[in-house]
């Protein structure tokens, strides 16, 4: 990833659409970054990191702070839909595809896109709903929808835990796919909607299926969720979110320019790769490899779902949430 806003944004979009990360050349790095990489190669620094990494692997327990917060957020957001329906509170009416929150229209961006392509007609209420949601995710970081709202995400996360257990026991093997597939599927579903005049993706969208199941009890469609989870447990780690879901790509594009992101500070980094190991989208963390960061502090690109899993496993606080313009007061946890 190249330094500076423009280079970073272009490279980040490339990663989002499925390009593989490229190691920056020394010429592309900032002077500070080059100096930092040189410093990191001194024997004392190597020794210090080695000690740190050994300590880290001796005690594999790590924080669950962000996972707990995130699961709580998903539980609360989806729970409000259900509670508000069953108690007739009318706080939030509808499902994650479209809803009314205290009377204000909300509309899922991808569902709306599919609908507009298929129906070729848009009413004002829908435009209001789209604008509201667009502004929310512009402010709170695009794919944060995926890990803080999407009800499929925690299920997939549990499937991933099972998958990793099975891989550890060598009972199954992960079958990664080409990440460009998601971009292709985005195009396929958009084209299908436009040509057929039906929102074909909505029929199989896990977000819609789960959200409607929670509120309205339409359980038959859970078969599809079961199929996806089974594939993710036994065959390909987090297949839906990583390689297929057009919703993720939609919100990823929204999160290209957003104040809420994770920032990597190479100064503290051990480069041992625990963050890449747990990450849903490890290509965005390529700068955490030794000598790969072109800046000392690098904001992570738009494909990042802001799940905080990397923050939980990072032993040095090299990865932190950052809101542009606001510096976090908290010091890195040593």
């Amino acid at each position: 990833m190249r330094p500076g806003f423009v280079g970073r944004t272009i490279d980040g979009l490339g990663l989002l659409f499925g390009r593989e990360p490229v190691k920056p050349t020394p010429e592309e790095m900032t002077e500070e970054a080059r100096a930092m990489h040189a410093f990191k190669k001194t024997p004392e620094e190597r020794k210090r990191r080695k000690t740190g990494i050994f300590a880290e692997f001796d005690d594999p327990k790590h924080s669950q702070k962000w996972r707990i917060r995130r699961w709580l957020s998903i539980f609360v957001v989806n729970g409000i839909f259900v509670a508000s329906y069953w108690t007739d509170l009318q706080l939030v009416e509808g499902a994650l595809t479209a809803s009314r929150v205290l009377g204000f229209h909300f509309a899922d961006l991808n569902s709306s896109l599919q609908l507009m392509l298929a129906h070729k007609h848009v009413v004002l209420n829908l435009l209001i709903g789209i604008t509201t949601v667009l502004l929310i995710y512009l402010a709170f970081g695009g794919r944060s929808f995926c890990s803080w709202v999407c009800p499929y995400h925690p299920l997939s996360e549990i499937a991933e835990m099972a998958h990793r257990k099975l891989v550890e026991k060598r009972w199954v093997k992960d079958h990664p796919l080409d990440r460009r597939l998601r971009t292709v599927m985005f195009g396929v579903f958009a084209l299908l909607a436009f040509v057929s005049g039906f929102t074909l993706f909505e029929t199989i969208s896990p977000v819609g299926i789960l959200s409607r199941f929670f509120t309205y009890g339409t359980a038959f469609a859970l078969i599809w969720i079961g199929v996806l989870l089974a594939i993710e447990v036994f065959w390909s780690r987090r297949m839906w979110c990583r390689y297929l879901c057009p919703i993720g790509l939609t919100y990823g594009m929204v999160g290209t320019v957003t104040p809420v992101r994770v920032v990597h500070d190479v100064t503290h980094c051990f480069h041992e790769g625990k963050c890449r190991d747990v990450c849903l989208v490890p290509h965005v963390l390529d700068m955490t490899k030794l000598g790969y960061s072109s800046e000392v502090r690098t904001p992570i690109g738009p494909d990042c779902t802001r799940c905080g899993m990397c923050l939980d496993v990072c032993p040095t606080g090299a990865l932190r949430f950052d809101i542009k313009g606001i510096t976090r007061a908290e010091t890195p946890a040593e």
Partner: protein
């Protein structure tokens, strides 16, 4: 088929130069991706295929819905119509309905729309216009048309009356009885009748003049009557719900086109 002609088969492991494992893995990954992408596309297309090929009986859609194909496209599958309906007449489709997954429908025999909300809360709730805002009076709705599907089962045609509740004590449906409560629907199971001639379909029709009992052409002198449906019928299905006979004598014939008022197209 002999090995002599088998020259173009350069892919035989022994013939080709050894590829590196990395390229092999990359090729496999690419093929896997195409297979998975193709499979997911096929699953999505299965809904379309089912819609085009399966001649399932069309669903009765909520008031104000656009013509079926436009309705399926314009519905964002959020269920807000389900939530606002005071008599819970609207249900959501599941994956077994293919493209109708998440799309609202009404089963009139179980719970018909009786316009308890004084017309069209569901339309007001719809965020996408799949239930068209062009409609603001129940008389403008066009969901279908009532039809006497089992004339021989109709009690009025047999000159019979009806004693007791319309659908039995266990029937969970509700209906607005304006003489009891202008606003709140009452359980049908709590309203017994004692009728000399059954006229439940006419008695409870929420659209004035949409259905009437007329003498039978072949037996004009007798007490027997037959329900006659007028063009103003909106297809709400109250007659279907309230018909006490088994099998039900009158049913809604669902319209898949022509649901919108004249001059407006989906």
């Amino acid at each position: 088929m002999t090995d002599v002609t088998d020259t173009e088969n350069g892919d035989r492991p022994n013939d080709r130069p050894k590829r590196s494992r990395k390229i092999d893995e990359e090729r496999r990954r690419f093929l896997r991706s195409i297979a998975v992408g193709g499979a997911v596309t096929c699953v999505a297309l299965a809904g379309l295929l089912q819609h085009r090929l399966a001649h399932a009986e069309p669903r009765l859609r909520p008031p104000g819905s656009l013509d079926e194909e436009a309705f399926l496209a314009a519905c964002i599958k959020c269920g807000q119509c389900v939530q606002v309906c005071p008599i819970e007449a609207i249900r959501l489709g599941d994956l077994d309905e293919g493209l109708g997954n998440g799309v609202p429908y009404i089963v009139a025999r179980d719970q018909a729309c009786d316009f308890s909300c004084d017309a069209t809360q569901c339309i007001l709730a719809c965020p996408t216009g799949a239930l068209s805002h062009e409609i603001d009076k129940k008389e403008q709705v066009k969901m279908g048309v009532a039809k006497l599907v089992e004339p021989s089962a109709c009690l009025a045609r047999q000159g019979k009356g009806w004693k007791g509740t319309a659908r039995g004590a266990a029937f969970p449906g509700v209906l607005r009885y304006p003489e009891v409560d202008r606003w709140n629907a009452q359980p049908v199971a709590e309203r017994p009748y004692d009728l000399a001639l059954c006229d439940l379909c006419v008695r409870h029709c929420p659209i004035e003049g949409a259905i009437a009992l007329a003498p039978l052409p072949e037996d004009p002198g007798s007490a027997r009557r037959t329900p006659v449906v007028a063009a103003s019928c909106v297809g709400c299905g109250v007659c279907e719900m309230m018909c006490p006979s088994t099998p039900v004598a009158i049913r809604i014939e669902v319209m898949t086109t022509g649901r919108q008022p004249e001059g407006r197209h989906a």
